[in-house]
């Protein structure tokens, strides 16, 4: 609860709003030059997401509105993939994304996702394009940038292999680094990996304007394709860190509808085990994948975070017109 009555004034200065407008225009120019088409997909959809850690705002229309419940989208991904399956070609969007149960210095319940898909790219080619866009349109990262695999960073900073590490090794690592985790026994291997990466490795990357991390453990795949690497399976996923701030998430996209349906089912099983509402898998997405989505790579950048990193701000409230908190 806030102690003072919030002002009607914008959260960002007029100068910052002008800067944002200039950057958005530059991004549009970047895509126009590459013949990537801008699209606008709905924020209200018939299905939510099954992801364990994403929470849709649920909407209940009244007749004669459509039959609910409907869901405010946590990202434009499913809608854009349906467009790709329909033959749209390469597309991008400045999409509003909505996430319930998220609020903090780097989290607003509503924010802007810059999301785009490149047909025929793998995640490496898309990472290169992300860096180019950041350099050309946002003006960040012309030097001292890094591209490294998740495994390389773990080896370098924690002397562990994240693809084969045991939960005991992870707990010991957490203890060594004084992470002071409250519910130590309640964390999965995935939870530990994410926490250790965030607390022990990411701060080491904070001096660099752009760091792209690729090839994640298979249990952190989300919608990325999997690739066999010797004995291990890696997820063709990448993340973009700007000055140590997590700003983007990309995949060499999973195109197989069977595998996608299995992942949705696995998510829901986990949801059920944790007492969370089960979300019906998006049958439209699955049908589109059944029809055939061209091989492609996609990425989602949090626009407000990108701006905050570029402007060296301590959070995102001053990067958009009006913010909560």
């Amino acid at each position: 609860m806030s102690a003072s009555i919030p002002s009607w004034q914008p959260s960002a200065s007029l100068k910052q709003l002008q800067q944002r407008a200039r950057i958005v225009a530059a991004i549009r120019q970047f895509f126009a030059e590459r013949h990537v088409m801008e699209v606008d997909t709905p924020l209200l959809a018939s299905h939510g997401v099954t992801d364990l850690h994403l929470h849709n705002f649920v909407v209940h229309p009244t007749p004669p509105g459509p039959e609910g419940p409907l869901y405010l989208q946590t990202s434009p991904e499913y809608a854009m993939k349906r467009l790709l399956a329909a033959g749209s070609g390469c597309i991008y969007q400045f999409a509003r994304a909505f996430r319930d149960q998220e609020l903090g210095t780097w989290h607003q319940p509503e924010f802007t996702m810059l999301e785009w898909y490149r047909i025929g790219f793998d995640h490496h080619q898309l990472m290169d394009e992300v860096m180019l866009l950041l350099q050309q349109a946002v003006g960040i990262g012309t030097e001292n940038i890094l591209k490294a695999s998740y495994g390389q960073l773990w080896q370098q900073h924690l002397q562990l292999n994240p693809h084969t590490v045991t939960i005991e090794e992870l707990q010991a690592c957490g203890a060594r680094h004084d992470l002071a985790i409250s519910a130590v026994d309640d964390l999965s291997t995935t939870d530990w990996c994410e926490l250790l990466f965030d607390r022990c490795i990411v701060p080491e990357l904070a001096a660099m304007p752009i760091v792209c991390v690729y090839d994640y453990p298979s249990d952190q795949a989300a919608l990325a394709a999997l690739r066999a690497e010797g004995d291990e399976t890696v997820a063709e996923r990448f993340e973009v860190y700007l000055y140590g701030i997590e700003c983007g998430n990309g995949f060499h996209e999973l195109t197989d509808p069977g595998e996608q349906a299995q992942r949705f089912a696995k998510d829901n099983a986990l949801r059920q085990s944790k007492g969370l509402p089960v979300r019906e898998p998006d049958s439209y997405l699955l049908a589109a994948l059944q029809q055939g989505m061209p091989p492609c790579a996609g990425v989602a950048l949090g626009l407000e975070r990108v701006l905050a990193a570029a402007w060296q701000l301590p959070g995102i409230t001053a990067t958009q017109a009006f913010s909560f908190i």
């Binding site: 149960q101 903090g104 210095t105 780097w106 002071a180 985790i181 409250s182 995935t190 926490l195 965030d198």
Partner: protein, 189 residues
């Protein structure tokens, strides 16, 4: 026992951590790797005074600590225990010397102080930021020496020792900043 979830966390909230009462200083919501959300929290242990950090899973619950801050009047001390009275309920409470700590230096009868009480037990005493106390003992003042900047020791009516400018005399009333233990100015009358 009442519980708070991480969603309730904010500065000043009193919680029990490893059985010690703590006050929350700051609470940061983080979501590493877009996975499990956590709250990275800074707390002050109200018994030891130390600042510590703890990371909670978002939604985790912690027990509330029954801690209250009460304005009380200082009555007297017998060397071992310091006695205070709640001016509205007339209830008396006593705190051991260790709990009163540095506040001992600044307490005058009937002064209002903040006593922090946990489960009915006083755990700290906070004097007002500024107190006025009489100089009980010091070397004679050097008349006119208001600019040399040199200082001497003075003993106040509470027994506390402070550094004062050379012109201060026995019997002078001084304003002291209790947070630093330093002389601020001489008070008239």
């Amino acid at each position: 026992m009442a519980q708070y979830s991480t969603n309730d966390f904010k500065g000043g909230l009193k919680v029990l951590l490893d059985n010690d009462p703590c006050s929350i200083i700051s609470n940061e919501f983080v979501k590493p790797g877009k996975g499990q959300a956590f709250n990275r929290v800074k707390l002050r242990n109200l018994l030891t005074g130390r600042v510590l950090e703890k990371t909670f899973k978002s939604g985790e619950s912690v027990p509330a600590a029954d801690v209250t801050d009460a304005d009380m009047n200082y009555l007297y001390n017998d060397g071992e225990n310091w006695h205070f009275m709640d001016p509205s309920s007339f209830e008396q409470i006593s705190a051991a010397a260790a709990v009163v700590g540095d506040a001992k230096n600044w307490l005058k009868e009937q002064d209002t102080v903040v006593v922090t009480v946990w489960n009915g037990r006083p755990i700290s005493v906070e004097p007002p930021n500024f107190v006025t106390l009489e100089v009980a003992e010091c070397e004679p003042g050097v008349k006119g020496d208001t600019v040399s900047g040199a200082s001497k020791n003075a003993v106040l009516e509470t027994g506390a020792e402070v550094k004062v400018p050379l012109f201060i005399e026995q019997g002078d009333v001084l304003k002291i900043d209790t947070r630093t233990g330093k002389y601020v100015e001489r008070v008239k009358g």
